[in-house]
């Protein structure tokens, strides 16, 4: 369940946490745990590791809330911690799972002429099958593309916020988002056309 915090409530909680208020931090965890866990889970593709990393995100946040300057929102800050920890984990375990690398995508250029508003495979599949296909396609993306896609389309972060999390220019965020969606669109269309199994 997603709980939302308005800006004033968020600021009040942050102030309380800076005074080492353990209870206030619990409310922050309540508000963000499912979002952070969902993001980390799709980044790492391993449930056990994701649970561990999500805990690390909150522990690190609690320990360094005094350094949180409020220039970005708490949500952006938490996602930045989560993103950095995920990247560290992946690099440490040398799991460079760039299944759908940027170079590989270039070989099928014709599939990316996507100004097609008729794309609606959801109408052809029942909802659970469709979501499973989409989820699988998301997991096939490279880390770079997956991060941007999840933060923008799933977590509803703006281009600027994502640029802040990933530390790249806004233009790069947009191009990655386009390529990620294009891959997703292609994967789902292929599934629908071939009637393939998941």
């Amino acid at each position: 369940m997603r709980r939302q915090l308005d800006a004033a409530a968020e600021q009040a909680l942050v102030d309380q946490c800076r005074r080492q208020d353990y209870e206030a931090f619990g409310k922050i965890v309540d508000a963000f745990q499912s979002r952070i866990f969902g993001f980390v889970k799709r980044m790492l593709r391993n449930d056990e590791e994701s649970a561990d990393v999500t805990q690390e995100v909150f522990i690190k946040a609690f320990q360094s809330l005094s350094k949180f300057d409020g220039r970005s929102s708490l949500r952006t800050w938490l996602f930045r911690i989560a993103y950095n920890l995920c990247i560290d984990r992946v690099r440490r375990s040398e799991r460079a799972l760039d299944v759908a690398s940027l170079d590989a995508m270039g070989t099928e250029l014709e599939a990316f002429d996507l100004a097609d508003s008729r794309w609606n495979p959801g109408a052809l599949l029942d909802e659970s099958d469709f979501l499973e296909v989409v989820d699988k396609a998301v997991l096939e993306l490279s880390e770079k593309l997956r991060t941007v896609l999840l933060l923008h389309d799933k977590e509803d972060l703006g281009y600027e916020e994502i640029a802040n999390v990933v530390n790249v220019p806004v233009g790069t965020v947009k191009s990655r988002l386009f390529l990620a969606r294009a891959h997703l669109q292609k994967a789902v269309t292929k599934y629908v056309q071939t009637g393939g199994s998941i």
């Binding site: 369940m1 997603r2 080492q20 353990y22 931090f25 619990g26 965890v29 745990q33 499912s34 979002r35 866990f37 969902g38 889970k41 649970a51 999500t54 805990q55 909150f58 522990i59 609690f62 320990q63 940027l102 170079d103 995508m105 270039g106 250029l109 990316f112 002429d113 996507l114 100004a115 097609d116 508003s117 794309w119 609606n120 959801g122 469709f130 979501l131 989409v134 989820d135 998301v138 896609l149 999840l150 923008h152 389309d153 799933k154 509803d156 233009g171 790069t172 947009k174 191009s175 990655r176 988002l177 386009f178 390529l179 969606r181 294009a182 997703l184 669109q185 789902v188």
Partner: protein, 143 residues
């Protein structure tokens, strides 16, 4: 979207204003994909996970407090040590004492104490010798 722009996007190269506009339009056209991604299932961590997190936070919290207390004690000790060191260093040394006394003696006006004592003793001796003053008899108690 043309091939040139697509290659630029893959290479993450800078795009022209016109190309940026084309990219924005292409992103707007992908609205259905966005909807699909936003409807992906949420993942709620378990209660056991939350309980474990609380324990880890509590351990970290206690460790942080302990370290804070230790830092305070360390800081206070350091300040005390500095004060003690300052006091020790700012006290006059024996050498300083001697040189200060010498300074007093050599710079004091009039006869030195020893000279004054000697003069007083000699005058008293002369007075008693001339009969001006009775010599002071030793008083022995009980006699």
């Amino acid at each position: 979207m043309n091939e040139k722009l697509f290659e630029k996007l893959i290479g993450e190269q800078p795009v022209t204003l016109e190309e940026a506009l084309t990219l924005d339009q292409a992103l707007e056209a992908q609205v259905e994909v966005r909807r699909a991604v936003s409807s992906l299932r949420e993942s709620e961590p378990s209660l056991a996970w939350r309980s474990e997190l609380n324990q880890r936070l509590l351990v970290g919290h206690k460790a942080a407090r302990k370290s804070l207390v230790l830092r305070w004690i360390g800081g206070a000790s350091l300040v005390t040590a500095c004060c003690a060191m300052f006091l020790v260093l700012s006290r006059p040394t024996v050498k300083d004492d001697i040189s200060n006394q010498h300074y007093v003696l050599t710079n004091s006006e009039g006869p030195a104490v020893s000279d004054a004592l000697f003069t007083a003793h000699r005058e008293a001796d002369m007075e008693s010798g001339m009969g001006i003053m009775e010599p002071v008899a030793d008083v022995k108690p009980g006699l």
